[in-house]
Amino acid sequence: MSRDGIAGLICLALSIGLLVLSRGLPQSSFVPVGPDFYPRIVLVIMAVLSVMLLASDLWRQRTQSADADAGAEPAPEKRNYRLVGLTFAVFAGYVVLLPLLGYRLATFLFMVVLQAVIDPPRGARRWVMVMVSAFASAAITYAIFDHYLSVLLPRGHWTGW
């Protein structure tokens, strides 16, 4: 099964799951259509499209396997998925730490870690540059938003700061 088939399966599962949940929605005698009317239309359309995507993928797989000797696919461009995973993980850590450490400290740490992940510093000088740019980003954004634009950025539960 290719990516289309997987996408079709996920969307189908989601639409069926929500359709089942929609059965529990309360009805009202005051209005001709209930709160489940529109969601069901959308979810049925989504389910039908998902089935069509899944079916077209399975059909394509069958016809492609029949033409398997047509020639090898060109090698795909190399992608750095490890770095993507690490970036998401560091960002998720930032989201968790933000309310605990507060904006200033969490942003400084996030900037240091993500810079180090994307471009690992070699030597003390590079580390100093990473620290300085992380500090500058946290301080400047805090000053602009918290002081000038009146956006109350998160304070830390642990640090109170």
Partner: protein, 496 residues
Amino acid sequence: MLHLKYLVPLFLGTLVGLIGGALPGVTITMTIIIVLPFTFGLDPLQGLATMTGVYVGGSAGGAITAALIGIPGTPSAITTTFDGFPMTQKGQPGRAVWLGIWSSFLGGLLGGVFLIGATGPLAAIALEFGPWEYFSLFVFALSMVAGLTEASLLKGLLSGAIGLAITIIGSDPIMSVPRFTLGTEFLRNGFPFLPVLIGIFAFAQLMTDIEKMSAADRTSAPIKAPPLTVSHLKVLWEILSRPFLLLWSTLVGIVIGVLPAIGGSAATVMAYDQAKKFSRHPERFGKGNPEGIIASEASCNANVGGSLVTIMAFGIPGDAVTAVMLGAMTIHGIQSGPLFVSQHPQIAYGIYAAYLLAHPLMVLICALGAGLFLRVVTVPKSILIPNVLVLCVIGAYALNNIMDDVVVLLLFGLIGYALVKLRFPLAPLILGLILGDQIEVNLLRAIMSDANPWLFVTRPISGLLLALSVASVIFALWQHRRQKGRAKEVEQEPDF
């Protein structure tokens, strides 16, 4: 608008737009997402003036790097590289850049004439619409966008359906019954629009860049800007002596801009293609032909005018940038749509003025330091990406000052990236997300006014729009079938 209170945000917006537009890998959508949190503390017109400046500046900024280093700053500037860069290689960097900037200026101003002239009459037509017509209009917009995507029609339609499905979460619009909220208070109002939008676009773009990153890409060597001295009168004459090319490219840009959620790159590619077809010397295209630059850049900025018309007259975003602007409007309590111009005349005329003023400001900023943008382009990605993510967090958090919005940002960041990897087009999803509530409200209003479902078909405008929806899907089916034999599906880069 001439007051400093508005001129300063407009100037800064145009400057940031030019820089963001010139930065390869940072699109106009990304720039406007970065700028968004800065506008929360401003009054509505200041905020919208800033965003208009970003939009205009960003549309022109892409040409600078496209012409000088052969890398388009934004996807819409791709066609500028075809002739701009060869012209630079021939030793005429100033001519290449300024042909782009002046064409953007002229195309943008002509787009402005359309913006001012067409918004009112189109909004007046839309005022006559009942819920049946609105429902059908939104369905038409959605079907057209799904059909026009490069990916498969099925995926385009499914992407739109996912967008609609996101909007069914939260209270229903009639009785406020919570739906699919899993008992959480936070989801009673549904997913907040801007964190969803920022998450989908920012992460889809940044992670796509990150996954292609090699060690060499992480740091950039400084680029020395070549001298950009040129006779402006000569360049202007070069453009104005081709009035048909300028007007036709502008028209293409406007029309593509008016069509919902298609975006600037479709406009520039189409205008470039048309210019080549109409040219007496099509063989010169791709070798430093000024006509290629004029067509590309004039259509790019005219596209901005067209997009603004659709959002101001109908409340339907012309592209991702106007989708963010629409979100920003709702934060300030402004409902776009046919009543927008009559209910908020100061803001509507303010946007017109900001749009027109942003063009000379863009020329002025470029005259002062177009070459300096090349230095900014060399900001290492290891610094750029974390900073963009921090601004995305502020943009999501500052809406309601709650961390739940940041969690939504992360969740939809993951979803956006997954959709890109599954080769789903994002434009239909965003349009579904924006129009979902309106489609439901108008459908329910229509049914509650008259339960006869045939009214959707028998009312002339509604029937016509639904027929056009069907026609657009059939046309897309035919077009996809025709193209199927020509090229296999390859991993498309998302067009933001």
